[in-house]
Symmetry: C2
Subunit: 899 residues, 2 copies
């Protein structure tokens, strides 16, 4: 019989020991045990197996989740016996019995998927309480107030999670109870008050649910386990999975565990901690705790928690004592557990713990989520500490996350109108229009407007709006609040717990220090300092030395793929070279043509009636193009620069306004009517498949000849002053050997002419983009003429999939949702379709010309998954946009390490 | 040393014997000997080797042509000795000596490529005459007039061909000489008149050329051989090669042969003949001859020639005696030569002969060009005579040429306003606007206007215009005139020699029987009867029995590929079934949507804001689609019918006019402004790559569901009354397995629902078009869901080559001219690019589902070269437009015979 229930604690660990190698908190990168028991279950089993104090329990494995849905959202009856065995295990270890009216066992029921989905699925605590056992708990704990408070909490949570009743009514009843007695804090309520509240809660359940609150503890357990499996398909869980590429068929596990109580008086406490700072990566314990509280009090941000260490407390200037000061012995024990865990898992850990009457219990450990900056620092530190190798350090940093570090931060010298200060919950700076609800954030962002989402506190329902916002600001909640955790995961700057701010979502206004910020007013937040500023604050470029530089150095030492950039201007080229670009992989010449000063000459060229007319216009453009190329060559001196000759359909350059036509008429001496007629002739039904690319060169060779001449003249000019560039002249949209042969002849002829005029030469290559399926298939023939191939995977994706990037918006969203493409194929290469053509072309090209240089210059050149594919195929380089060059360097190193 | 000169005649045949198997007169299908000696040289060698009376001579082989161009358009000096050897051979056989003033040898110099290029290259006759030898010829022949006439002709021809002087001046001098003497015919000029004319001609040469006419006969020969090689690259030869797919690097051979004279008085004659009627294929000698004339007099159409046989003369009601009557002995000899040749070559022959003073000489034989009708009849007759096998008969008929037989002919019962009658030179009927020059014909045809090219006589310069015209009408020239031969080759209807018509090309008018036809007036010609009619005459469908039916029967017996049709209407389906279609391979449902009665409902569906709105419109369309399908199913009862679900971008159906918007607003209850906004939203930049095909089905499954329901309801309706159709439901534009899975589920659900409602079922298949490169590559996955693949090679060509068919006009012409694509890839499949994807998809599809049904439904399904490829890949069927179904049947048989 398949085993579904795995016990842990009390010297038992059915899940076995293993998983001692640290793993990344990224989908797909998990052990078999995590796949079976979920992250939480696997880690509980692991902690139990290495002797850490874990409350005993058992985990119902993930395959049960599928069975639950197959059975029409209910648990199969035959799992009851196994669950009973699990309860018996807990009873044996704790000495309490489930449903025992004199000394009851209480349990928690929690979800746990392969990868952490914080706050996405449901949890039930204090399960096992009923009208009989509440008295037993009071007796056994010697604390009637605690017993009735637990029962109250349990009914409320069970009603919410399992019975799916409206939780507002329960909160209101609690508020009324406090008001009636003139209290403000929950803790002021006496045992008797709480007992009365329980009676009220039970009446509420019966009124809304139609049945009395379940008193049978096994029925309670059965219901809670089912509800947790059921939460796997909640809307918010589905949204989270979609945003994080988590497959629906993984399912969740459910862990049932003996309750321990952090709310049993002042020798009890509960807390969350990271073994290092998840925001900066600093090697110092980092966390929060609350005395006499349950875990959800910390996470929910309802009470402001206390610091873990004295140092942190002092740095923050906080008064409330730290755990180090308040409970020195337990703190020492906790510190030793931290050390054990970090050495065991060889990674920074995110921990939940509870102290029950001075006894420390570990509730959870997992690889901690961290900012890119922290990931970088922790990886570099751990490698330097000898805990992990440099190769492991490289693998630990998600290249995509580097994006956070590479974008500008606030200019330190700029004036700041600071209106509030909160916690630096997720680093980076952002400006945008203040919006007060997630729906508006999504809507405005969809219209291209940057927004800052401002909320009293965030909840899982806000995920879409948080994703759409440039930054998040909350008035309540700590560094581990929902807002902080989610924002760090998304790489969004976040300031949390800015307590001086009063927010009215209804009136769409926030008030702070006598000032008002209304919806649409610009705000700036700095998630690295916690500052909130009115208006927009200028930014500066990121610092690329320190840990970043160290890790990049290690990455460069192991990667095989060269990294170039896509750059059309000297400025882009300069930024990219600073980011480590080793040349230009794609310099688009048409962007130069759009320059306001030149567009009239370009239009004159296009609209000319004949060769002579075109040549007049081309003569005007030649010196302009020459100086364009010279400026770029200077920045890239000594490095290869791939220049693509004119590619887009000519009609893209056409005049639209009357004034434009008049200007061209003046410049060319042609009639406006003739120009308009010619412009109309140039209209195309499918310009992407029209008269563009080398088809322009075949029909108007004089255009390519002018461009080639400009390239060689510029290269000679630059070579005279310093290092010569290595121009790689690229012919676009080739489908046949013959096209390239014809166009290569044009380029070679221009080179011979310029070299003869100047009496000097430069090295150059002539090659082609492979961006049509036919070109990939005929790569063998084409390689006879091509010295390099550059895979233009944007167009290759368009033609291979038959999808226009400009028109895909109408259906591509639905396509990804319905699982037709796993990701947008214009963002991450469609490896099994487009990728096969790339593989074919690489093989056939190399078979004909073994030394052929191969690169990729589509958007995919900056996408880590696509870069891994390029490494597999053995391309020579990838070319990415300037800001993605470091991402590509790191991804290339990771790809090299994987092969 | 490489041999370049090959002798023949007088018992010698250096070229050896061979080539006894008949070969098609099609490029690529030639023997090695023809490649070496050209068609004419090879046939002369062959005739010599089988003992036929051939004037002795030698052939300079085709490799010399390349050497001529390599040397900068001149002959290499070292070939002089070989040529001298050839001349010596002729001298030895004839007993005349080259340049001998007392009894000179005269020779002809003719071109001859691998395949016949009638009239395209130059010929020089009577070479060897000069001021001295002309006297010798007069003495030896005893006919001074003949000698001086030959010298006159030679100077004129040499001046034209070798010296490239304007031939108008010579013609004018001849006309003046006749006028001065009051003559109308050349034959009225005496020896003295001609001697004076020679003096005038020589003066003209010296004046224009700057040097006296060459008197050295070896210099004459050297010049003429060079000029003939030079004519290989003349503009008209290049045009002909391009139109007929003849490679430039084949080159021509040059044959030098002793002259024989048909103009040595009334016992001499010259003629051309076919061993069977090249127009009808009838097994009767067919030809023309002229007494006392040189060969060019017949071909040029200057004198109206006489019939060869008495029967032909009597049938035509002509007075001039036939050769059978005028020269019975020589005619008998000729008839025996015909029989020998036809049995030797096993094909109908096209022959040139000359009778010199009762002695018959064979100048040329080759496989005769013929009309499609004749090709069919000759192939069937020869197979039934036992001369060739049925398989050879199948191979003898060019499937493309069948097109001539399959199109409508003039309705015999329609009124005809016959204004003239000429020779039935090339069968078929055509109507169009009269035009009087080739350039206008090309221009108007390019604008989509059908034209009839009307010329006094045609010349090789007219080729482009003849190709562009629907039909050709000439006032002069016989059945073997330039116009007739070329028109038959092109499959254009032609009426030649309509002598009652007076044409003024300058004034753009023809006058006949007191009436005027001006440029642009509509004419109809019937190339099968020779009738010329004013206005347009209605047509009737062709007769498909007789020889056509016999050959089709033989073809059907050997072909493996099934042939279906592309048909969207019951009428198309009916025509196709009569033509032998074995089902429908592509029924496009969108064409039904354009119906005026339905377009409003279609527009309402497209412009609906939501599902409910679309469903209202779809409910209106369902009964319409059901009756569409039922009508087609009835025609195709018992046969498979592949129905493609809605494919084109929705905006193709959008309203354009205000009235259309108003109509949709009325039908849907929506505001006009909202409709216009929605219509604007539907605009696409690249609709070919946009929201179309199964993307419509994925986003709006209700559309495909309605169509599937209509198909199954119609199938059940038809099955109730007779044979059930076999619907094959085809999902367009699939790129992934998942798309097909989703859409197949929609279709299967509709089928289950309809079958349940009706309590009956029909067999059906669900499959997909393979029309995107990704689909071809992922054919293995897709075959898991697809029961058939239909290769949509139109779209597959567009995406594989990255060329939009709608926009390709701007460059595809230049692309074919520059040799980038050998033929328009939308007409003939790009086998090495698109073909590889078809091959990959077929292999991968079969590997996953061995029984998968494979077909092709692009335009290529009716193209013989593409069909040969489909046979190679092992597809199950091809689908062609109705009129091309017989072409596809024959091409499929030929393809099967070749494998």
């Amino acid at each position: 019989m398949t085993q579904y229930v795995y016990r842990f604690g009390g010297g038992v660990s059915d899940g076995g020991k293993g998983d001692s190698r640290a793993t990344q908190a990224r989908p797909g990168d998990v052990s078999e045990r995590k796949a079976l028991l979920g992250g939480k279950g696997a880690n509980l089993a692991e902690m139990a197996s290495i002797g850490l104090p874990v409350p005993p329990g058992f985990t119902i494995a993930t395959p049960m989740c599928a069975l639950y849905y197959e059975a029409g959202e209910q648990l199969p009856e035959d799992v009851r016996a196994e669950i009973a065995g699990g309860i018996a295990h807990i009873e044996a270890v704790t000495g309490h019995r489930f449903g025992d009216a004199s000394d009851p066992l209480l349990v928690s029921v929690r979800s746990g998927a392969r990868v952490s989905m914080p706050g996405m699925m449901d949890t039930v605590l204090n399960l096992g309480l009923n009208d009989a056992t509440v008295a037993g708990l009071a007796t056994a704990s010697g604390d009637a107030r605690f017993a009735w408070d637990s029962y109250r909490r349990f009914i409320q949570m069970y009603a919410d999670v399992v019975l799916e009743l409206d939780h507002g009514a329960f909160e209101e009843a609690l508020e009324v109870a406090k008001e009636d007695r003139g209290f403000t804090l929950d803790t002021e309520l006496s045992a008797a008050d709480l007992q009365a509240l329980v009676a009220e809660y039970k009446a509420l359940v019966e009124a809304e649910w139609g049945k009395p609150f379940p008193q049978d503890v096994h029925e309670q357990l059965w219901g809670a386990v089912g509800a947790v499996f059921g939460s796997w398909q909640s809307e918010r869980a589905k949204t989270y999975r979609r945003l994080n590429d988590i497959p629906a068929d993984w399912g969740t596990a459910v862990s049932v565990q003996a309750m321990v109580f952090g709310n049993m008086g002042d020798t009890s406490a509960t807390g969350v901690a990271f073994t290092r700072d998840p925001s900066t990566g600093a090697n110092a314990y980092y966390g929060e705790f609350l005395i006499n509280a349950q875990g959800e009090d910390v996470v929910a941000g309802i009470r402001t928690p206390q610091y873990l260490t004295r140092a942190a407390r002092e740095m923050a200037g906080a008064r409330a004592t730290s755990m180090e000061e308040a409970m020195p012995a337990v703190y020492g024990e906790l510190a030793s557990v931290f050390a054990t865990l970090e050495h065991h898992y060889r990674d920074m850990q995110d921990i939940e713990f509870t102290v029950e009457r001075t006894k420390l219990w570990m509730l959870q450990t997992r690889s901690g989520k961290r900012t890119a900056k922290a990931a970088l620092k922790i990886a570099v530190d751990m490698a330097e500490e000898g805990l992990i190798s440099r190769e492991e350090a490289i693998a630990r940093v998600d290249p995509q996350a580097l994006d956070q570090l590479l974008h500008p931060t606030l200019d330190p010298s700029a004036a700041r109108d600071v209106i509030a200060k909160g916690l630096p919950a997720s680093p980076g700076a952002a400006s945008g229009a203040a919006v007060f609800d997630a729906a508006t954030a999504e809507k405005w962002a969809a219209d291209g407007k940057p927004v800052i989402l401002v909320r009293t506190e965030t909840s899982p329902e806000d995920i879409g709006g948080m994703h759409a916002a440039r930054g998040i600001l909350t008035a309540r909640g700590g560094m581990t609040s929902h807002a902080a955790v989610v924002a760090r995961g998304m790489g969004r700057p976040c300031v949390s717990g800015a307590g001086s701010i009063a927010i009215s979502a209804k009136d769409k206004v926030m008030r702070v220090a006598g000032r008002e910020v209304r919806e649409g007013d610009t705000l700036t937040i700095d998630g690295s300092t916690g500052e909130v500023m009115a208006g927009e604050v200028p930014t500066v470029s990121p610092e690329l030395s320190g840990d970043f530089g160290v890790l990049m150095g290690w990455a460069d030492a192991v990667r095989r793929l060269k990294v170039r950039c896509n750059a059309d201007t000297p400025n882009d080229a300069r930024v990219a070279r600073e980011f480590g670009a080793e040349g230009i992989g794609l310099c688009r010449t048409e962007h130069m043509f759009f320059d306001a000063a030149r567009i009239t000459a370009v239009r004159q060229m296009i609209l000319a009636e004949d060769l002579a007319g075109r040549q007049v216009a081309l003569a005007k453009l030649l010196p302009e193009q020459r100086s364009d190329f010279a400026a770029i060559f200077e920045v890239m001196a000594g490095l290869p620069v791939t220049i693509r000759l004119l590619d887009p359909p000519l009609h893209e350059f056409l005049p639209h306004e009357e004034a434009d036509f008049a200007e061209v008429a003046r410049a060319s001496g042609l009639e406006i009517d003739a120009l308009k007629r010619r412009a109309a002739e140039l209209h195309e039904f499918n310009p992407m498949l029209g008269h563009r690319g080398c088809r322009l060169g075949v029909t108007y060779p004089e255009i390519y000849e002018m461009q080639a001449r400009a390239i060689f003249e510029a290269a000679l000019d630059v070579a005279e002053r310093g290092d010569a560039p290595v121009p790689e002249v690229m012919i676009p949209l080739v489908a046949t050997r013959r096209e390239l042969e014809l166009m290569k002849a044009v380029v070679d002829r221009a080179a011979r002419a310029v070299f003869a005029e100047r009496g000097r030469t430069v090295d150059y290559l002539v090659g082609t983009m492979i961006e049509l399926p036919r070109a990939a298939l005929r790569a063998g023939d084409i390689a006879e003429q091509a010295e390099f191939f550059s895979f233009g995977t944007n167009d290759l994706t368009q033609t291979t999939l038959g999808v226009s990037r400009d028109d895909a918006g109408r259906f591509l969203g639905q396509y990804v949702e319905q699982g037709i493409y796993a990701r947008d194929p214009f963002v991450s290469l469609d490896i099994e379709g487009v990728g096969e053509l790339v593989t074919i072309a690489a093989e056939r090209g190399r078979a004909k010309r073994p030394a052929i240089k191969l690169g990729i210059c589509g958007e995919h050149g900056g996408d880590p998954a696509s870069i891994a594919f390029c490494e597999q195929v053995g391309l020579d380089y990838v070319s990415a946009s300037p800001y993605r060059v470091p991402i590509a360097r790191l991804a290339a190193a990771q790809a090299a390490l994987k092969t």
